[in-house]
Each structure stands twice: as structure tokens, then as C-alpha cells.
């Protein structure tokens, strides 16, 4: 394990690297095709260098732990609004999630449907490219269209284009209160119809999921406003939904965010993004595989647990065939090394997109040292 303690040291290490590097933040998100290489940890690039609550801005080293950031934000009544998933329970990993890791993997949670993804909250990055050059893009202001938006490109590039050393973030205030409306026993398609109706109402829904036979809709904000909107939803599109408040409400969303119902259980876990109304359609089409499914993002994010049938590709061919009929993409988030390699874990790109992707990799990482093969071609 190499662990640079400064950006300059990181750049030097990369410039002189003679073999592939496996780029890690806290090492909690072991996802993608297994990578052969020397572990490179950004944990040493730690610390919050700027936090202006009145400007909703925070700047931190990539290796800064998310816990540290959350604590600092909570003191000012603020938070990371995109609700990043903690993958440790699902993947059985240990370690400390870092803010750089969250951005590199564009990890978001249930609130993604309302406020946006991690990439929408990343205002700027500093990173080191495959030549060992220290580069920057974006900045620390809310609106910035100066040149190309490489911030978005770096978010979700899984360390395959460069190693992020520093990030600036937009943060938001923690609302006064939250409430979850729940309903038991709906079918998946009925549940998604309820979620669509709620999301299509003017009542600012910040979470919409279906798990363990329970349909869930979250409302957050000022107290009076939340009770008004909860009542309005019950009286219109969510009749018969019951109310869960406070910590019990928060738990419902932590469960969905971290996919804990699939934690500690055998089988492959797929994460599929598609049009919300297609969620239940997909699961129905995959019935022969006996999937267990949970739905986030109003039905548009489907988590599937497949019993271990010994399929070398964790049924990637079948799943992706059904997904491509509907439009969307499927990632094998948890599976054996062999399955992640065979599937492959990340969705294969159509030809013209693959060409652009390879072209970009060749520019950012001409020697191919960063996480080679992790995202496939």
C-alpha cells in the first residue's frame, strides 16, 4: 500500500509509477472488475481546508473521512444533501469512507431524485492525471461554466482518469423535521404508481421507495410545512398511508440507502437504473431468476439480490438483455471476482460511447496506470 501524505507526493508517485495502481479512498467500495495493481490510498490527503456555512461551501482533501465532514456540518445544522450510501454492510468491507471516494464513485442515496447526485454537489476538484500532473477544474462557487465541466467527468470515473486529491462541495441545511408516509402490502407496480403520483404532486417529496412490501414516501422541511404536505398527500394521492416520524423515519431511509436488507446474505447484488415505471416491469421479466427486489428513486433504481446459482456471469446476459429492451443500465455491485470479471461488473458501452471513453482514458491516463479494466472498455 502506498499512502502519499501530500498532493505533491501523490503526483511524484504517479509520475514515477512503473506498474498499475489500484486507487483507493477508504477501500469500502470494492466494485467493478477486480484490478491487479499496487494499492494507492488517498487517506493521507486529509483535512477540511475551508468551511463557510453562510456560503454552503466546504473544501476538503480527498482522503477526509465522511464522518469527520458530517460531524463538522452537523454542528452548523448542515449536511451532504445527496445522502451518500455507505457500502460497508452490503459489501462486507471495512475501512472509513472518504469524500474523495464518494465523488470518484458518484455515490448518492434516496434524496438523489429531489436534490441531485453527488456529481451535482461537487463544485470543483483537484486531481493528478496519469502523467503525474496536478490539475484542477471547477472551483468553490455555486455556478461555474468556465471551460469544460471536468468535475462531472471525474465524478463517477472510479479513479480511472485521475486520482482526486481535493474536492469542493456544496452543502445544504438539515431541515427542521422529516416524516415518512408508509403503506404495507402494495404490489410493486401499485407501489411505483403511488410513488409516481407523490413525486408528481407539488409537495416536494425527498424520498420514494418500496422495500419489504412497504411503500415509503419522505417529506422534509419546516414543521408546519411538513404536516401540511403530509396531510395533503394523505388526502389526495396517498390515501390510507400511515405516518412515521423522527428517528424511526430516518431509519427507513438509512435502510434503503445502504441496501441493508441484502447485507450479510448470499447471492449476487445488481444495481439497475431505469425509467421508474419500468422498475417492476424488469423485475417481472426476470422472474425465472427468482430475484428479490427493492426499489428506490420512485422505482427508477432497482436493487436485485439473486440466489447463487453458480452462473459464471451472475446472469449478466439475461439481465442486461431485459434492461436494454427498456433503456437503462445494470451494474453488478456485489459478486465473486469471477462474476465481476465475466459479467463484466460495469455496463458495457455501446460502440460510439466506448470509442469516446477509450479516447478520454488515453488522454487522461496515457500509460494506463489507473485501475486498469475496472470499468471495462
Amino acid at each position: 500500500m502506498i499512502r502519499p501524505e501530500s498532493e505533491a507526493e501523490l503526483a511524484e508517485l504517479i509520475a514515477t509509477a512503473s506498474e498499475p495502481l489500484r486507487v483507493l479512498g477508504g477501500g469500502t467500495r470494492d466494485i467493478g472488475c477486480p484490478v491487479e495493481g499496487t494499492n494507492l490510498s488517498t487517506a493521507g490527503l486529509s483535512g477540511v481546508s475551508l468551511y463557510e456555512p453562510g456560503a454552503l461551501t466546504l473544501v476538503a482533501g480527498a482522503g477526509t473521512s465522511v464522518d469527520e465532514i458530517n460531524e463538522m456540518l452537523a454542528k452548523e445544522g448542515q449536511r451532504l444533501a445527496f445522502e451518500p450510501m455507505d457500502h460497508r454492510a452490503l459489501l462486507g468491507t471495512s475501512g472509513t469512507p472518504t469524500i474523495g471516494g464518494i465523488m470518484a464513485t458518484n455515490t448518492s442515496g434516496p434524496r438523489r431524485i429531489q436534490v441531485g447526485a453527488a456529481r451535482d454537489f461537487c463544485l470543483g476538484v483537484r486531481f493528478v492525471d496519469g502523467r503525474g500532473q496536478i490539475l484542477k477544474n471547477g472551483g468553490r462557487v455555486m455556478k461555474n461554466v468556465t471551460g469544460y465541466d471536468l468535475v462531472k467527468l471525474m465524478c463517477g470515473s472510479w479513479g480511472t482518469l485521475g486520482v482526486i486529491s481535493d474536492v469542493s462541495l456544496k452543502v445544504l441545511s438539515i431541515p427542521e423535521t422529516e416524516t415518512t408516509l408508509i403503506c404495507q402490502g402494495q404490489s410493486a407496480s401499485h407501489a411505483v404508481a403511488s410513488l409516481s403520483a407523490a413525486l408528481g404532486s407539488p409537495f416536494d417529496v425527498t424520498g420514494a421507495g418500496f422495500v419489504n412490501g412497504e411503500t415509503r414516501v419522505r417529506i422534509e422541511g419546516l414543521e408546519g410545512s411538513v404536516s401540511y404536505r403530509v396531510g395533503a398527500l394523505q388526502n389526495s394521492v396517498l390515501p390510507g398511508f400511515e405516518v412515521v416520524t423522527g428517528a424511526a423515519s430516518a431509519e427507513k431511509w438509512a435502510e434503503l440507502r445502504d441496501v441493508t436488507p441484502f447485507a450479510g446474505r448470499d447471492g449476487a447484488v445488481w444495481r439497475i437504473s431505469l425509467k421508474p415505471s419500468d422498475g417492476p416491469v424488469l423485475v417481472e421479466a426476470l422472474a425465472p431468476l427468482a430475484p428479490e427486489a427493492m426499489y428506490d428513486w420512485g422505482g427508477g433504481l432497482v436493487w436485485i439480490l439473486l440466489p447463487d446459482t453458480g452462473a459464471a456471469d451472475a446472469h449478466a446476459v439475461q439481465i442486461r438483455a431485459e434492461v436494454s429492451k427498456l433503456g437503462g443500465h445494470a451494474t453488478l455491485v456485489r459478486g465473486s471476482d469471477q462474476a465481476r470479471k465475466t459479467a463484466p461488473a460495469f455496463p458495457p458501452n455501446p460502440k460510439p460511447i466506448a470509442a469516446l471513453t477509450q479516447g478520454l482514458r488515453a488522454k487522461f491516463d496515457p500509460r494506463g496506470v489507473f485501475n486498469p479494466g475496472l470499468m471495462g472498455a
Binding site: E52, P53, G54, A55, G77, Q78, I113, A117, R119, D120, Q133, I134, K136, N137, G139, R140, V141, M142, K143, N144, V145, T146, G147, Y148, D149, L150, V151, K152, L153, G156, S157, L172, S173, I174, P175, A193, S196, G200, S201, D204, S225, S273, K275, P276, W297, G300, G327, G328, H329, T331, P347, N349, P352, I353, L356, T357, G359, K363, F364, M375
Partner: protein, 476 residues
Amino acid sequence: MQMPKPSDQILARKPQIVARLQAVLPKGAVIHDPIQTRVYECDALTAYKCPPLCAVLPASTAEVSAVMKVCFEEGVPVVPRGAGTSLAGGALPTADSVILGVARLTDVIEADYDNRFIRVQTGRTNLSVTGAVEEEGFFYAPDPSSQLACAIAGNIAMNSGGAHCLKYGVTTNNLMGVTMVMADGEVVEVGGAHLDAGGLDLLGLICGSEGQLGIVVEATLRILAKPEGARPVLVGFDSNEVAGACVSDIIKAGILPVAIEFMDRPVIRATEDFAKAGYPDCEALLIIEVEGSDAEIDDQLSRIIKIARAHNPVELRESTSAEESAAIWLGRKSAFGAMGQINDYMCLDGTIPVSELPFVLKRIGEMSVQYGLDVGNVFHAGDGNMHPLILFDANKPGDLEKCEALGADILTLCVEVGGCLTGEHGVGVEKRDLMHTQYTDEDLEIQLAVKDVFDPKWILNPAKVFPLSATETRRG
């Protein structure tokens, strides 16, 4: 401001190039008469003008692709044009370029209310996207001031914002997918009705790339349910510093208004003369708007008013009716027009950390005196996106150059305090030569390398975004 010298070779081949374009497009879709091409000589940055070689108005993705194939083979620069409302010169032609206008691509392809998206051709105007879904109670959130005229294609090219993006985000946060014609005519699909890319976030890269990576012909946009209502409050202060502090306190208190707009004295005076909105005579004025049901609005406004009162405002006007709301917004919405009545103006677009507002406003005031040009400020204060308006006289020799120099100084100041050159208008030609104040050679080189991948011949809008010296060896 300089533009590259047009290629004599291309100019000489005009008849052949026009003929090839006419061969792949319907009659009337190629405009080449030197009188008619003057329509396309500039966009909303009218200080710079140059008629193109010709303009084409394709009416389908296939026609756009056919045009690009011809231009790619001929090595002719292509300048994409939405509605021509760019304030940064994004659609400014060179004499050897083909203007590719998307004005005929205006269809709604699909509106899906259950899944909350609309797919449109990108020549459609911003406001007419909302127009297509509002009967069902939905709207498209990004609302640039030019929304009546501006096209989605240009919104995507510049990653446009608007007054209400404090809550709803800018174009990139509301864009789910595009169909794009590449420089060589190949048609690619990126994203779609689902969220977040499967591979690299090419969608995020394309949005804001100023027409340099491809021609976006269709877009899938997120639509949202319209809030029950909205209401503004107007607060006047006797100094910019106090108004800036009030903005910061509102944000810190955890209230997220949909808009916080700021106007300084020169703009307040100009709009009063022009629109007679009845604004108070004060140094700085905030318009803060919140959304929701009546009771929710009352709740939020009472909290905002409490914070504002702690800053001793000289005036505080809470709207109690639709008429009063309209009156509060009237001045803000006519601010640019009002300034235009006084003189020619150049509108800047730097963004700064909100905490630097008072300092930057003070410095702009000093620079204005130093240059002898009046500057008014009207902007989106919640996110620090400033719009200094520099007044000058285009007919007075040397005034434009003086205005450009002052503009450059103000934008450099924005970068120095931790901000950026442009928050929502784009770089275009206007801020092209200032890119080095924000980025190093290496930072720019990696961006140029991105363009190399998408447009190896550098035919798409090649003279924009980057300093000409940095792109010289790449451009044809």
C-alpha cells in the same frame, strides 16, 4: 477581441460547399446570399459581428448528420446556433464558417408525466418546454432571463442558469440525456429517461461545452410539479455590505428561497426611471422569493423578515397579492432593458463566494470611478453569480476597448477572491482570453485534449472558449 483569419481556401470553395450542403438539405435550408447571411452575423453580444460563409437550417437529426458529414469532409468550421441569445458570443461566426441553426428542430418527442421527463428537439425554446407540460401541472426549472427566446440547444451548450436555480439547479442538474451528432456526422445517444450514466459521465461533460463537442439535437429534460404558489418580499438596505450579510444569514438559517436577487443603486435608479416599479430609493435591494402553499409561504417569509429586520432595512415590502408580487418583480425583470435605455452595456457574469459580495461590490465601485464608466449590479445573490453591467457608448471611439478592459479587471477580481469568470453565460469569445487567470496551461491542455477526442479536426466552434494562442496549432 480577435478572431482567426478565415481560410482563403474555404472562402474560395464557397460555391462548391454551398452546393454540397444544398444537395443534402431541402430547398431553402441553405442561406448563402450575403445579404441574408447577415442575419447570422452576431448573437446577443452585438459588439462583435461577422457574416458566416453560409447558414443551414436542418429540420431533422438525419439532416444535421448529413450537414456534419459534408463539413467534416470539407474541413469547414461549424458554429452551432440555438436562438442567438448568447451574451458571450458563443454563436459568433467567422467568415469561413457554416452556421448550423437548430431553429427548425422544435418538436416535443415525448412527455411522460409518470416518469417526470420530457424529450424535445433542442431548437425548442426554454419557455415553450414549460408551455408543453404546464397544463398537466409541470414545469421545466432552469429559467434564464431570455427564456422566451432562447433555445434548449443553447441552454445545454452554455449550461444556463436563471433566477430560480438556487433551489432547482442549472441546466446540467436537470438534463437526463441527449442525442448528439458528432463532428463526423455519427449520431450518439447519451443518457436517457433513467438517472446517472452507466459509464463515464459524458452527459456532464457535454453540458456546458459550448457546442465544441457535438451538435445536441434532442434532449431528455427533468420536469417538476409546479409548486402551489410563490411570493416575494422586497427589502431595501442602506449599504451593499448589509444586504450581503442579510443574504448570508438567510442561507445560514436553513431557509432555501427559490431566488434571492440583488440590485444596487445605479440599477434601482435606472429601473425606476424606466419601469416605475415603485422601488425605494436606497443603496441595495433584495428580492427574496419562496414557494409552497399560502401557509408555508407565510411561515418562510416570516422567518426571512425576522432575519432581515435584524439588519435594519430601510424598506420592507411583503407581497399580499399577485399584483404586488408582479410589481416587486417588475423592476428586476426590466433591469437589463432599463440599463440599455441609458447607453450600450456589456453584461458580465462572474461568480464569487457569497461571503465576498461586499468587498467585490466596493472594488467594482472603485474601478468604475477609475475607468470613468458607470457600472450597475443586478444579480443572483444566493449563489454569488454577479452580473455587473458596464455602460459605454459604442459610437464613441475607444469606449468599447475601455469597457472590455474594465470587464477583464472585474472578472479577474472575481477569480482572485475565489470565484470564476462565468457562472451561467459561458466563455464564448468574450472571456476566452481571460481563461489563464483561472486555469494554468496544463489545466487548459487537458480540456483541449477532451476536444481532440470528440472533434479531432477541430471544426466545431473552434475559435471559442480557449485563448486563440492555445488552440492555434489545433485549428485548421
